[in-house]
Amino acid sequence: MKGLRKAIALVVAAGLLSSTAQAAISDDEIRIGYLADMSGTYRDLSGPGGLESLKMAVEDFGGQVNGKKIVIFNADDLNKPDVGANTVRQWIDEKNVDVVTGLVATSVVMAVNKIVEQENKLALISGSASSALTNEFCSPNHIHWVYDTYALSNGTAHAVLQEGGKDWFILAADYAFGHALEADITKVIEAEGGKVVGKVRHPFPSNDFSSYILQAQGSGAEVVALANAGADLVNALQTASQFGLSQSGQKLAGMVVFLNDVHSMGLEVTQGLMLTTGWYWDMNDETREWAQRYHKRVGRMPTMAQAGVYSSTIHYLNAVKATDSDDSQVVRSKMIETPINDMFAKNGKIREDGRMVHDMYLAQVKTPAESKSEWDLYNILRTIPGEQAYRSLADSQCKLIKN
């Protein structure tokens, strides 16, 4: 009996020891893994540019926190969940990586999140769109930084409805992401007295959109909503312009539009398009200054996802510095406690469900005459306050929120 008590005491002591050990910086290094699509569809929205943005954050910290070196690993997830999951598993097991950042395709992120949660590490998600990540799939081990499908569709649909577009046609990509967007838009439209008069779900990816655009034209809708992204969105917009959709009086609303999409298509095709964005390089001196630094290194202007990598990394490193720990829960609590005030967000707040709530911006693509330079692409029409833009906690299905 005495022996047993001694053994228990030893175990408890060991447990205490190990937990105090966790409160320090493990391996005397802060290890960051950057996982993103480096070669496929989402390369330009995140990819090598996001990695450069991460390096900028680390350099701005002098390469170390409280004398402990910051080390970066990076890998291409090829948009494949198994590849992404294996990479992160290896990083954590062999390299003892503390935090994973980048993270684009929702399918990859879901797989990675599971491992990060099992191993009690942290994931900072910048590229991914799905609002489910902080709803039914929330966890205490990841933070969703830049935007989500809810905020984008909500912002744009609301603005277009206010301008008087009541009858909508929805062109959606036929997979989870497109369906989620379609559902989100429909909710907004119906809540504000509008009507969905027609919709098409197109295979992902599609080569030719002329047939769908013709169906949208024939539907008599005032607004055509594009619930797709990347190459499909670019393709659909280009086709809409050739078939004179706007000339025939219909308005186009893009739901998930990135700066690189607009840059790629050119203003001739995209002018007048309404969209919601989490960040834009040309908003104030602070954003411009940072964007110019980025531009010098990468040769392009940053997308909101790429800027988000910088912002989330700085916020993370600040929390590590303040707590002198790289334990995920210690750092996460500190990150939640501290408001975010940097070139990316003003008074941004991380909620308990992992959603970083910050102001979003309603933008309209400039006409070729308005644009003064290659990357002068958006007019910011107005700011959407964070609390309005994101799904409220009252509607949350997240297990971390007690409703």
Binding site: S206, N207, Q217, H263, E268
Partner: protein
């Protein structure tokens, strides 16, 4: 208004016309594949990359050399055709007579390399090519608005397809080609330079792909992945038409465009799959393809 299967006739007409236009692209691309397979017995997986090269030559020659669209219609096929001939002479030549798999792997690898280099250089978002002035705007056909450019695509593609068919089926050069397909050794014995014929054939197939690339440049985003997306469908078209059959490739290309167009109206979710469904059916009923010779 006449209603057919719950869809107004005018809508149906519009969709059929669009289907035909997509079919014209399929026809052009599958024609090149069929010619190459016919003579070289190579399953040319680099075809999509060659199509993409054609579009990029068009885009870059405008950006850097100021070459306009009409000139690019000749420049792109010529330069890509030349690249094709080099590929044949220095790479494909080495695996003549080997199993089909070698050719497939070699061309697939080539495609990956070419596309990878372009991703590295130009990113994945792609760029848009300005519509040539003469083809801006469109016709109001009553049942739909048809952009002039799409009308031009169908005319240009059909002309090139039928000229190619005529050359192969009705001229002396074409007869050498067909004979070379049947029995290269005998042709060689007659004093025909078969290796040269083979190089030219691959070059011509590549040029056809590039021509389709030029046609695509003003209406689709010019991006490194544009060919890879299309290639699998085009392969299905060739299989349906009958591997190596010239007329089969052209007619099946147009036909599949139409079928796909109809699917986009009645059940859009299946638009990417319907061609493969047809392929399965054809393979079950007529393994040599609709126009292939049963052996």
């Amino acid at each position: 208004m006449t209603i057919l299967f719950g869809v107004p006739l005018s809508v149906l007409l519009g969709q059929l016309l669009l289907g035909l236009i997509n079919g014209a692209f399929y026809a052009l691309l599958s024609l090149g594949l069929a010619i190459i397979f016919g003579l070289l017995r190579i399953i040319n997986f680099a075809h999509g990359a060659l199509y993409m090269l054609g579009a990029f030559v068009t885009l870059l020659s405008l950006q850097y050399l100021g070459v306009n669209y009409w000139f690019a219609l000749f420049l792109a096929p010529l330069s890509v055709g030349l690249i094709g001939m080099l590929i044949e002479k220095y790479l494909l030549r080495r695996i003549t007579g080997e199993d089909h798999l070698y050719g497939l792997l070699l061309t697939f690898g080539l495609a990956l390399i070419i596309e990878g280099v372009f991703v590295k250089l130009f990113g994945v978002s792609g760029s848009s090519y300005p519509m040539p002035d003469a083809l801006k705007g469109g016709f109001n056909l009553g049942f739909m608005f048809l952009p002039k450019y799409r009308a031009w695509v169908i005319v240009a593609a059909l002309i090139v397809c039928f000229v190619t068919w005529y050359m192969i089926e009705r001229t002396r050069l074409g007869s050498y080609l067909r004979a070379g397909t049947e029995n290269p050794k005998l042709m060689q014995a007659f004093g025909i330079n078969v290796p040269l014929l083979i190089t030219l054939t691959y070059g011509y197939g590549a040029a056809l792909a590039a021509f389709a690339g030029v046609l695509a440049a003003p209406i689709y985003p010019v991006s490194p992945g544009m060919g890879a997306n299309l290639l699998i469908v085009v392969f299905a078209v060739v299989v349906i038409g009958g591997m190596g059959s010239i007329m089969g490739a052209i007619v099946t290309g147009l036909l599949m465009g139409l079928i796909e167009g109809l699917t986009k109206v009645f059940y859009p979710e299946a638009a990417n799959t319907v061609v493969f469904l047809v392929m399965v059916l054809v393979l079950l009923v007529r393994p040599a393809g609709l126009f292939g010779k049963e052996t």
